[in-house]
Symmetry: C2
Subunit: 166 residues, 2 copies
């Protein structure tokens, strides 16, 4: 009886993994979608009125510790910042409140001063939509990211200034 149960279990686990769907494809530059980023802690937020999106910026443990210690110029190797982006929506009961609507994308900056030295020490990646489709036709897509971030070179190429907390 025990033998039967133990021989069935691996099959059940495999079936579960298949049913849950495969991991999203990596970005064209080889960066994989960071696991568990939904559970990371909050570093900041923003509301862009040029493209009508709300953003919440999360960070992995290395990022959060650096942010709270004020060690962000430069951020340490191992930092990963995640920017979650939603289209603007109007709150159904408070029309002067903009709230997250359709989920647009998750954007990541991965700090490794040596590996990514050609793009300011940062590896960039983005996954679009709820299907988490990697952005970019080839590895050259990072030039678009890096170009947009170059105006904040003096802030280690990062737009986010960690939100002040008690």
């Amino acid at each position: 009886m025990n033998t039967t149960i133990f021989s069935i279990l691996p099959t059940l686990f495999l079936a579960g993994a298949v049913l849950a769907g495969e991991a999203p494809a990596p970005a064209p530059n080889g960066i994989g979608l960071p696991e568990g980023y939904r559970d990371w802690r909050m570093i900041g937020s923003s509301h862009r009125t040029d493209n009508n999106t709300l953003r919440v910026i999360l960070g992995n443990d290395t990022a959060v510790e650096a942010a709270r210690a004020g060690h962000t110029r430069p951020w340490p190797d191992g930092t990963i910042l995640a920017k979650l982006v939603w289209n603007d929506a109007v709150h159904p009961a408070w029309e002067q409140a903009t709230v997250p609507g359709v989920f647009m994308q998750a954007e990541f900056m991965v700090k490794n001063a040596d590996r990514y030295r050609e793009t300011g020490g940062w590896g960039f990646a983005r996954w679009k939509g709820l299907d988490e489709v990697p952005y970019g036709d080839d590895a050259g897509f990072v030039q678009e990211c890096f170009g947009c971030h170059t105006p904040v070179k003096d802030n280690d190429y990062v737009f986010t200034h960690p939100a002040v907390l008690p």
Copy 2:
């Protein structure tokens, strides 16, 4: 020698606790500032243009699990929602982005359907500013909170709709 070290150690720890400052005072209704709320996970965000504030809504584990499972009408007992509020600031390098400026307050809703049955099952509390000063002159302050939340009674008195995530 060992005796000397062990008799000094408790004094050093006590000095550290005093230097770190005491915990903020509880709210006038007895609710204490939830420990570790800065580390809670993200549930939503909003930008209010009637009072020019950016907000990020975090939740304790019970809240996050309920949000992800869609069990928010009602939220389960044990849920705590934290709304962190900053005044609007303009991003120094991207003027069409509103970002968190001065920290204003942390607001909490604590779910206990029985204990707080006179205010929709929710205990309310708020601490103002970086000094975390409890809001309200006496326990009656919750009527102000409850009054403002009554229009969203059909959403279990909660304004926040959890942001959609992949």
